[in-house]
Symmetry: C2
Subunit: 469 residues, 2 copies
């Protein structure tokens, strides 16, 4: 693990004296919310928080930091999950004052927005133009565009639209030397050199600071047909994928195990179970269609076929928006619902889709070896091979004692991922949390390439030096 | 322009003595077809052609070249259009002996194939599994996967599926030091570091040699509805885009001007005009649907609305596969048909979609200033903002004399692209042809980044040193 950063007071004084007064703060009350994160897993410190108002402000600040070799950590909505957004001595730079939507182009289907804009505002702006920006995350009301892009966030719509990376034409970014890279295009084709824009996406702020982005908009589907399905196995879920996605309408394929499902139903008064019986697994699907009638026909056809093939035990086809929202609510509370099960060791992994059943066989067995009685809750975006494989403590166990097993539980999971050709980080990223894991588990060739790129663009390691690589 | 390469004979002798006999040739008859390209625009030379049989062969050869600082040019199907595939003294390395499809996974919808495989074979293999690999190019019968990926080829399906870059899970590539990078995943989510795979896509062989790739397959649409539409202006074409793409079914949106259209109709006996009248512009559309009935209903609805809005003058909805093939044939012969107009100066540019009409106004006028009487033939993928803006010689002019104006005609086009926020290379790439243009027209910040990445990964400039950057 990389060490905390210690910046001499004299350097901080230079920043304070050279930068405009509205571009920095040392006010503890203002800074405090930026130093911890919502799960209270990381607590940080910073000698100074930069508060730029525009791209030029960011450039000026970074130039000065580069000149004096001052480490910087950029922060968006502070909703990250891997410690990549909690400073440990770095100068913190928050983009929260840069929130403007600069341009919407409904012919090119593009939207240019500053990095500090909250995702929900982008979703609303697209919607107002009868367009869809296909990114839904539980944190969409507080996460920012810059953070979403820097972490290559996933979410529920990856299946149809891809991860964040696929949803971006290009970015404006301030490089570690303070220069401004302008990739704010809306061109769907541009073969003039390496894909520089792409480098900044998912780079977790280690190659520069994304200050704005040109996002891809899509035609808004006229109707979304939702269904919730009861299954007897995870194999059954995977076996449905091919028929469900035929026609390219499938936009969500989320799977939940009984233990997680019932924790939500039992724990939250506002949420009810649309089924009378309990099933081992639950599958939530969305199809994006052009009319309510088309949605109903499609769902009935697809599910009818699945019933006949005995792959499905029960199903609820949402009849209206309220029912659809109620069903989605169960899935959206899966993370929160796990608190009712006590302490939880969380993983965000991918395996090849056809290896998901094998993953569960191997991982479930291994977890029992490490902590007998622990309760795996593996749910999430199975259509993308992405499992949030969380391990709840054994019933009645001591939470703190259980959480002390974090690494002992995680390393075998990562081993299984590696063996199955999976990834130890599907959508949350590396941050500080998996810094050592990446170093140890990436192939030497891959790791050397990562380091070569970091060195090429940030030779002084000014940008987020404790993060990723 | 970069200079030809001169490799001392002693170094070539080292390669010959150290590498297996079946991994190189100096046979002139075997090498000759690799030294020129189909338009006879570039003629090259090479002291040695490497003919590896497997990835390890490539690695061994590149390691040796790195050790002795021998420049290498990789070549696929030799269908490139920007001089990036014609050696001028480099050791040539052809991937044509590496053609194996290593794996097809119909659950993950992925296909792993070696770089030398001809694109058509991949299309067929996907089709045999009831899958679609959405890449259609006029050269698909001879271009190879490695070349397609290295140039980030476009084609007719970009509108719905994106350029090549979007169709790739990852690559296996031999780096300039001979190390093998293995990115052959089928994971739709993997947030473990910078997007290394993406760096090799569109890199034109300057960062390493792609030896294999994991490609994304898609559900095969059950029916493709095609229509050909007569229009009075390019503005009309652009105004149709929104309604035509609603519902996400639109998979082709190709525009042709009367001059190019009639050159094809008049020039090729086998191709006939489905219309009785001539129109100023023609639009060819595909919608991917689930049944013939759905296709007909959709086309009739969309076109009916467009007729009512007086945006469309005439339309033919393909009634069967033969009609559909006949219509596509016109578009497919657009490049070839221009030979009937004499000499042609070709451009492959993009502008933001809403700027296409403005581009034509500016460019058409400017061309008349440079060569009075010249005949612009701007056609192509307008749904992506991509125009193949070719300038045919004035009627009766001397071909050679006209072609001497290549640069004088091109530079103003590039100026207009730059001014409109476009790109001087949409899908063909930079190669040697636009090496100087990129250097002069890219922003200093962008160009510095390109060079930094090249230097980081290929510090000795061994890989395709005369190409791109």
């Amino acid at each position: 693990m990389t060490q905390p950063i210690d910046i001499p007071v004299s350097k901080i004084e230079i920043l304070k004296s050279e930068l405009p007064k509205n571009c920095w703060t040392q006010d503890i009350d203002i800074i405090a919310p930026h130093l911890t994160e919502w799960r209270d897993k990381y607590f940080g410190k910073t000698p100074l928080m930069l508060t730029p108002r525009c791209t030029q402000d960011v450039s000026d600040a970074v130039k000065l930091c580069a000149e004096h070799r001052i480490s910087i950590m950029p922060q968006g909505g502070n909703t990250g999950l891997v410690g990549g957004n909690t400073p440990m001595g770095e100068v913190l730079i928050t983009l929260k004052h840069m929130t403007r939507i600069r341009e919407i182009n409904t012919t090119a289907n593009s939207l240019i927005v500053e990095a500090g804009a909250v995702l929900q505002n982008v979703l609303d702006a697209a919607d107002a133009e009868n367009r869809k920006f296909p990114m839904t995350l539980s944190s969409q009301g507080s996460c920012t565009v810059g953070g979403v892009l820097s972490t290559n966030a996933g979410g529920n719509h990856v299946l149809k639209y891809g991860t964040t990376k696929e949803l971006v034409f290009g970015v404006e970014a301030v490089l570690p030397n303070g220069d401004i890279f302008n990739g704010l295009t809306n061109l769907r084709k541009d073969n003039t050199g390496y894909d520089l824009n792409r480098l900044f996406l998912g780079a977790e702020g280690t190659l520069g600071i994304i200050t704005a982005a040109s996002l891809k908009l899509f035609p808004k589907p006229k109707y979304v047909q939702r269904a919730l399905i009861g299954l007897d196995s995870v194999e059954a879920a995977i076996s449905l994928l091919e028929d469900f996605r035929a026609g390219g309408r499938l936009a969500m394929f989320e799977v939940m195990p009984a233990i997680g499902y019932h924790a939500v139903i039992d724990g939250f008064d506002s949420i009810r179970d649309p089924f009378d019986t309990s099933y081992a697994w639950y599958l939530l699907c969305d199809w994006e269609v052009e009319s309510e009638a088309e949605g109903m026909t499609l769902a009935e056809n697809i599910l009818g076929k699945a019933f006949e093939a005995k792959k499905v035990l029960d199903a609820v086809i949402a009849q209206n928006e309220t029912q659809a929202a109620d069903i989605l609510s169960i899935r959206e509370h899966m993370s929160a619902g796990q608190k009712f099960l006590g302490g939880s060791v969380k993983h965000d992994i991918t395996v090849p889709i056809d290896k998901i059943p094998e993953f569960f066989r191997l991982a479930d067995a291994k977890m029992q070896e490490v902590v007998p009685g622990c309760r795996p809750v593996g749910f999430g975006h199975f259509g993308d091979g992405n499992i949030h494989y969380n391990i709840a403590q054994p019933e009645g166990a001591d939470k703190k004692e259980f959480l002390a097993n974090w690494d002992a539980l995680s390393q075998p999971i990562f081993d299984i991922c590696d063996a199955l050709g999976g990834s130890i980080s599907a959508e949350h990223g590396i941050g500080t949390m998996k810094f050592d894991d990446l170093a140890q588990r990436a192939s030497p060739t891959k790791y050397a390439l990562l380091k070569a790129i970091k060195r090429a663009i940030d030779p002084e390691r000014i940008m987020n030096p404790r993060v990723m690589v």
